[in-house]
Symmetry: none
Subunit: 206 residues, 4 copies
DNA sequence: GATGAATGAGCCTTCATTCAT
DNA sequence: GATGAATGAAGGCTCATTCAT
């Protein structure tokens, strides 16, 4: 049994299946919200049985935690890749970081909706804060470094911590707006808003 | 027994009871999150039977909707009262609006947590968007007017719509941070961040 | 207190209120069925508070029992009055008895529906059988007597017990048909069916 | 322990389980009536969990509807099988039809009680009328045909529609009597009553 | 791996009943 | 008499989880 034949290895199949379930979870959160999400919904979205969902993820709680971790990893990989490709100057790096948030395929409606849902529950679920905690800190540190460099170059009179925070909140806030407003603006308008914040903060650079 | 002490009467007026239940709902959302909130939790927090909660609110869905409307009304009443007391100048009005968001008793931990929870669910529950929609629009319009006046006075080169949005997102975003970050900063830091945004946007005024 | 003034006596008011509630109960059974009937439905139909319904009838179970007794009394009073007015001959008495079932104001849709509902529950509620038992027996005895007289007069070859039973079942059965058939026939057709049964059983009389 | 005995398997095929639950439902209706029937009662009667009842029938409402449909199918299959085996003559066919109603195993106490309960609720639940509607019509049509043939053969002076209706009501009525009377007669007496009706209607045949 | 029957805890909700006013 | 707030038992139903196949 389990003889070695020419077929895709089980590990790949396993990971592929897990990813498929996670994508189905993201879509289901977007469609129904965290409060009303059921494993049956997820299983239906992944076109597998609900038993198999639990086979791969043990519990609903764990599935949600792994989904959040998946999103957080993806987000981090995205901005780190953008930074790696960016030029050496602070302005270039800042531009790359911000554009990464808006141009990437990760900024889909479903993913944004899932992020918002997790944010909403984070205050009452420490586990969600833990999952994002370290990665958040890395991102903030990176952004603050770039802000500090820009402030040094432009001699702006603002604390780099505050500048970084303002930028991050505007980016995240426009995402939230797109999800929660009754009549949201376009995602291009969102981008313009962030650019306006950048050029206000670092008027000599942008 | 049956000694005369100062305890709440067994029966309350309709409005008093409803408000009591809504306050209990806010506290319960903060403690457990929307996804795990049960009517039994709410009833226990209000020290009444769960039957009475439904007697006054008909359904869980309706209780949550009325709680959100209560929060939205309260928020609007707060900033409108602050504006009414503010001086006539645009800078005064702006300062009053922002301070209202931070000084008031409505910005308690529980209320912020409830806001975040509702935001998280809003994307999958149009009814929540509707409840906030009109009041949000009023607030945004007011903020944009003040920004426009400041921009006129200071000859700043920014679109008032963007300026207003940036300010709003920074205010809301710091609230979210206080709720969702693993190691949040202080609420004084939050206020300083908003002031930094204001003085960046309207450098001649603040 | 309770001084004797010129006002309607309490007893009358009490009985009037009780009758009003019972009529509301009949209407509600017709509209919703016994299984789904609630005291709130009854109270709404009687345009009083549900508390008052229980004040007068102590419990739901008792209200239903009294409603059935009311219907049974009414039914018995109706056919006994018809018999009292009928001529002395057996054929006259039979005709009076049967016509009483069809011409009277007690054979309304609501009353028939209520009867059917009680029949449906009778098998699992001995109390309902008890309420109707004695009155049923009286009716059956009367009908058998008349049948016996007719059979004697016409020299028909049928057991009076069977004849009486057949007639009763046809009368009751057409009522049930009017209530339960998807496309029921007219109540005139019902009457004709009963007359057909009579003329078959007692061909020389009818 | 774990000795090999002949006990029902823990998991049953879909159809077997559904039928088992329906039989349990019939027994429970007979014991408690439709108004007081609970899913827990049904589950207990079937010795399974209440969750499984709903797994197979989705809702209580649907379970009851399917139970009624099951009874109606069974009833129809019974008289149709009896007719198929009957001789070609109208009298033979009539006798077969009537005997089918009384001899079969489907005329158990529980089944009759369930029928009565559904009749009682039919007036306020159109869905019950729909379920029986078509099958009822088929039965009535068949009975009318046979009556028409007998009337032709015997030259009886009665409308076949009325004759068929009278017979049907007497059959159904004796069932109801067995269920609802405080002191019911025997089922043999019921049969004799129906035979009396037949010989009255079709005196030359029976 | 995968399915889906089966369980049971726990939810929302209904509603008869009580009781203060 | 009359109202309606208040209670709590009990019901229908959902759904995470288990497990036989």
């Amino acid at each position: 049994m389990d003889d070695i034949v020419d077929r895709p290895p089980r590990t790949l199949s396993r990971d592929a299946r897990r990813q498929q379930v996670i994508e189905a979870t993201i879509a289901t959160i977007a469609a129904r919200g965290l409060a009303r999400l059921t494993l049956t919904d997820v299983a239906r979205a992944a076109t597998i049985s609900h038993g198999l969902v639990l086979f791969h993820f043990q519990s609903k709680e764990n599935l949600l935690a792994e989904t959040l971790a998946y999103l957080a990893d993806e987000y981090q990989a995205n901005w780190q890749a953008a930074l790696a490709k960016a030029g050496p100057g602070a302005a270039d790096r800042m531009r790359a970081l911000i554009e990464a948030d808006f141009r990437s395929q990760i900024t889909t409606q479903d993913r944004l909706a899932a992020w918002c849902a997790f944010w909403g529950e984070a205050q009452s679920r420490p586990v969600y804060q833990e999952i994002c905690g370290e990665r958040d800190a890395t991102y903030v540190r990176q952004l603050e470094e770039i802000c500090a460099a820009l402030i040094r170059e432009g001699d702006y009179g603002i604390d780099p911590v505050h500048a970084a925070r303002i930028l991050r909140l505007v980016v995240e806030g426009t995402w939230l707006d797109l999800m929660t407003l009754e009549h949201p603006y376009s995602s291009e308008e969102a981008r313009l808003t962030v650019l306006a914040a950048m050029s206000t903060l670092f008027s000599k650079h942008f």
